[in-house]
Structure formats: C-alpha cells, structure tokens
Subunit: 156 residues, 2 copies
C-alpha cells in the first residue's frame, strides 16, 4: 500500500467513524488514477423507489468528496471542515455505484485558501464535484467549504 493509499484508508476510517450515516451508505474512499481519489457508495444501499440512486445519497456522496478533498489537502486534524452552501444538478439515473470525484481547484486558489486559513483561522474553498457512473457524468455538484482552525469549530 502506497503512502497515498494509506492516507485514503485513514480518510475512509475517519468518515465511517465520525459520520455514522456513511456506514449505512456503504461509503468507500478509493484511489482514482486521474484525480487522486473518489468517494463511492453502492446503489443497493442507497436506492429510491425506482431502484436508482436516491438524490439525497448522491448529494451526500458529493458533499463527502468535497469534505475529504479539503481534509486531505490540509492534512491537519486540528482543522475542521464544514459545508456552507451547495447546489446540484441531476443529469441521469445511477444504477449500480455512486462515484464522486472532486475536481482539484487551480493551485493559485488552493494557495490563497491556505494563506487565508493561516492568517484568519478560517477560509473558504469553492469546489466542483463530478458524480459519474461508468465514466458518464450523472450529477454536477458545486459546494462552498469552510475550514476552521480548532478553536473556531463550533459549527456544522
């Protein structure tokens, strides 16, 4: 197991332990060749009345992809991450596996985020998440995530 895969395993354990609903969702953090990692959950545990993925589950998987991106980017357990706002468009049904990939923002944007967090103890990062099945986009998610230095983290 590479160091990178070890970090994904730690991230998965963190989510499964700290957010119990992720266990019921069958959540996994898996390596992704192109974008570093993906968050997956089987439709069998996340279906709706039409036996396709429930929109609420798709949104939750996408939200967790954003959370995990920020956590893995900062790699600092004293920083808490919360979601402030998000929007999602559902483009097609998902039948087997919900798979969400957070698109890395421009490096300049990530640097601005880190600098703001150091200076103010709080910083916002806007992220795009692509939800797909078999390589075809099924939903598009945009979220505003806020990182909070330990003492400020009395929020969601």
């Amino acid at each position: 197991m590479t160091k990178s895969n070890e970090r994904l395993r730690v991230a998965e354990e963190f989510l499964l332990e700290q957010i119990p609903l992720t266990r019921a969702m069958g959540l996994r953090v898996v390596p992704d060749a192109e974008d570093g990692f993906a968050i997956e959950a089987p439709v069998a545990l996340n279906h709706n009345h039409l036996q396709t993925a429930f929109g609420g589950s798709i949104n939750a998987v996408a939200t967790l992809a954003g959370y995990a991106f920020v956590w893995l980017e900062l790699n600092d357990t004293n920083v808490h991450v919360v979601v402030r706002a998000s929007r999602i468009r559902f483009l097609r049904p998902i039948r087997e596996v919900i798979r969400a990939v957070c698109l890395p923002p421009a490096q300049r944007e990530t640097e601005r985020f880190r600098a703001a967090l150091r200076a103010a103890g709080q910083a916002r990062l806007d992220l795009q998440v692509r939800v797909e099945e078999n390589g075809v986009v099924a939903a598009q998610f945009d979220g505003s995530f806020v990182a909070l230095a330990g003492g400020l983290a009395n929020e969601r």
Copy 2:
C-alpha cells in the same frame, strides 16, 4: 387518528420501505400545525465529526420534504417524483433534531403543475424547504421536483 394523519403515516411507511437509507436516518413524517407536515430525523443518527447534523443528512431530509409534499399533493401512486436540481444554504448548526418543512407554493402554481402533468405526463414544481431547530431557521433549500406519469418513470 385523523384522515390527514393517516396519510402522513402512509407517506412515512412508503419512504422507510422504498428508500432504505431513511431507516438508518431515523426518518419520521410528523404533523405540523402551520404547514401540514414536517420531516424529522434525530442528530444522534445523523451527526458529523462535530456532533452536529451532517450537511448531507440535512440535505436529504429537505429533499424528502419536497418529495413528500409532491406525493401528498398528487395522492396518485402511479405518478413518480424525482428531484432534478437543488441548492442549499447552511445557516447554523443543528444539535438535536433536523426538521424540514416544505412551504406550500401559491395555489396557482400547484394548479399549473397539475394541468401540465395531465397534459404532458410530466411536470416540474419548484419548492422551497425550510430546515429548522426550535423554530429557528438552520438551512434553506430550493429544489426542482419533476412528477412523471408511470410509463415515463425510468429516471431518478
């Protein structure tokens, strides 16, 4: 139990049976004096790493409030309801119970929706959902829901 409360019980059973994640969330459909009904879920089953409600759970409860509103409005088991798009703003943490209330749209809008569904077998309804705790708004959700006559329902 009034006829209205009986319909809420049937809606709750439908959600718990058809969308298994709602069982893990501890979902309830409860009467609401002002707006007819509310969807609730305890934070104990839906918390994040900060012991407040997970944003993905808040979004799911709000989405289900919209679904349930359309189902109860149409009262026709041959019509399927799917969510096409949504956005949410998280305003404050939720500590005990996630409670989502769908705001009834103007009667004219509901009539347009019903007429379009009859004419085209498919119609969209935009709904606002207020998520609250102890009467204070904690999140604001807007969703576009689509009703599909039985034969068209091959989507989420």
